[in-house]
């Protein structure tokens, strides 16, 4: 089976030759390829090259077109600060509660900020791996984009103080995300990973998810499917136990669960949805290959009967992780051959 076939079959809960394994790697690939983080997040070609270098070495089942959580907000006009070895951060938000958001320009993925670099990265990745390996396009989810457009506290206070106005801002974020995701599908991504950590229970209560986020996630996933995505993948880092039941109503195909979520709870709360997770991200820095192997085997054991499981980390594997720990996770999946 090719990686893409393995993932597709797993999403449909069909049998595979082995458990698929995806190392969620962003800038780690750059460090691995002896490049600088600051260059990785600004250069689609370099990012694609780094991703391919890491893929060839580790041999997992997917590559990512991903930079950081500022791409969308920068393209919409926020000011970003870049640093040598750490991911960039917003230093000036483009929107505030008084902004006339309905008149605010939507970024053009082919022109604005670093969006064109992400598209370039997608194109090169697809050219390089074709239909052998899953090419994952990524968007920051609408809730998180909104917090990146105006600041987390302001966005949350607005939702409470003036929900009608909040919805207008939220819908702007949704349109922005929709466009960017569709452009990546057009450029050749097999699917879009919607990374929406601000839509986790760590930040918002489950009722908030149900009322505001759920209908918008559902709409977004529908649009991506119509745009050619082979599946939809949602990722909200942190705790999601009480939000997971709502995922079923969004028609999402793959749900990431972080290390804080018990795999049994994930199974109980998601029904017939493929899951990926959940090795502790920091383990890849501090623990040994044997610990990672044991964790991996334990997880695959839990999912053996159920299927619909992709072995992965709970969240991004930190850039400074030890390569032998990532190898240990990939090798553990191979043991199931």
């Amino acid at each position: 089976m090719t990686s893409l076939e393995r993932i597709s079959a797993t999403v449909r809960f069909e049998r595979t030759d082995r458990v698929p394994v995806i190392a969620q790697i962003g800038a780690h690939s750059a460090i691995f390829a002896k490049k600088k983080l600051i260059d990785y997040v600004r250069d689609g070609e370099l990012a694609a090259y780094s991703q391919i270098t890491a893929l060839e070495h580790y041999g997992y089942d997917a590559v990512f077109a991903i930079f950081d959580s500022c791409v969308e907000t920068e393209a919409a006009g926020s000011t970003i600060e870049y640093r040598e070895d750490i991911y960039p951060a917003v230093i000036k938000y483009i929107l505030n509660p008084d902004s006339d958001v309905e008149k605010h320009k939507l970024p053009d993925p082919h022109q604005d900020g670093r969006m064109p670099e992400i598209l370039k990265c997608v194109r090169i990745l697809r050219q390089e791996v074709g239909d052998k390996t899953l090419v994952v396009g990524t968007v920051i989810g609408p809730m998180t984009v909104l917090t990146q457009l105006m600041g987390m506290e302001r966005a949350l206070y607005m939702a409470i103080d003036d929900p009608k106005r909040f919805v207008k801002f939220f819908d702007y974020a949704c349109q922005l995300v929709r466009r960017f995701g569709l452009a990546q599908l057009e450029a050749g991504a097999h699917l879009i990973l919607t990374f929406d950590p601000a839509a986790s229970q760590t930040v918002i209560p489950p009722q908030f998810y149900r009322e505001f986020v759920l209908p918008r996630h559902r709409e977004l996933f529908k649009t991506f499917k119509e745009g050619g995505a082979i599946a939809n993948w949602v990722h909200s880092a942190g705790r999601i136990d009480d939000i997971m039941p709502y995922y079923q109503e969004t028609n999402v195909d793959i749900v990431n669960f972080d290390y804080e979520v018990d795999p049994l709870s994930a199974i109980a709360n998601t029904g017939h949805i493929c899951l990926d997770g959940n090795i502790k991200p920091l383990s890849f820095i501090f623990d040994t290959p044997e610990i990672i192997r044991q964790e991996s085997l334990k997880l695959m054991g839990i999912f053996k009967e159920r299927g619909g499981f992709i072995l992965s980390s709970g969240c991004e594997i930190p850039p400074e992780s030890k390569p032998e720990n990532i190898e240990a996770m990939v090798n553990a999946a191979r043991e199931t051959l």
Binding site: R83, D85, I86, Y87, A89, V90, M152, E153, L156, Y157, I160, T202, V203, I204, P205, F208, G238, Y259, K280, P281, L282, I285, F286, P318, P319, E320
Partner: protein, 216 residues
């Protein structure tokens, strides 16, 4: 309980309703109650009740943020933003380290500590170890709370205790917490304590400084 004149303020703070909290506090002031009583019987009580309500599993950030905002509104009303009138306890310094711009968790820790009556000095986010040591020394802090959400701050926090010792203030306690740091142990981070929630920080400091935290 029904006749507790502070009840409507306490309720408003717990509900995170800042308008109602402002109104209740104004009425208390007008009826001649001293500011200090409003702080102790209103704000401190509300924070104690929240402490009991929030555990690592049952934790609602939004609720806490709204309470934090309501508390600030009342403090502004009472002291025109000058915290020193509220703080009857020792000084605690807070910071997020260089390269880390997450600060929601730090604000919550601050709210909890302020609610308990500590004087807090917030160095902000993206702060160097040198700046933290300097501030802690200058302010005569008893403890430093480091909130760390990204793993890249780990090498930095390990340097904090040695730097404090070098500066001659090795007796200041160092606490760590936040999404990244809470995954590690105190030994690995070279700190005195690693806590999961903001209330853990409050409890550890209470015990350290000899306040019992079960008075409610």
């Amino acid at each position: 309980m029904q006749n507790n004149p502070y009840q409507s303020l306490i309720d408003a703070l717990i509900d995170g309703d800042r308008d109602k909290a402002y109104q209740s506090a104004s009425e208390l002031l007008k009826s001649g109650i001293p500011k200090e009583r409003i702080v102790v019987e209103g704000i401190h009580k509300a924070m104690e009740m929240l402490d009991g309500k929030c555990t690592a599993e049952q934790f609602n950030l939004l609720e806490l943020m709204l309470t934090g905002r309501a508390v600030s509104t009342v403090i502004d009303l009472l002291y025109k933003g000058d915290q020193s009138g509220v703080a009857s306890r020792e000084t605690i310094v807070l910071a997020a380290l260089e390269g880390d711009i997450h600060d929601l968790g730090k604000s919550i820790v601050k709210t909890v500590l302020m609610g308990k009556g500590y004087r807090t000095v917030d160095c902000g986010k993206d702060v160097t170890i040198e700046k933290i040591v300097e501030t802690a020394k200058k302010e005569g802090a008893k403890a430093i709370c480091i909130s760390g959400l990204i793993s890249s701050v780990m090498p930095q926090i390990k340097r904090l205790k040695p730097s404090l010792e070098e500066a001659g203030c090795g007796d200041i306690a160092v606490l760590a917490g936040g999404a990244a740091l809470k995954q590690a142990t105190a030994e690995v981070l070279n700190v005195d304590y690693v806590g999961i929630t903001a209330f853990d920080a409050g409890k550890y400091i209470d015990t350290l400084l000899g306040y019992s935290h079960d008075q409610s």
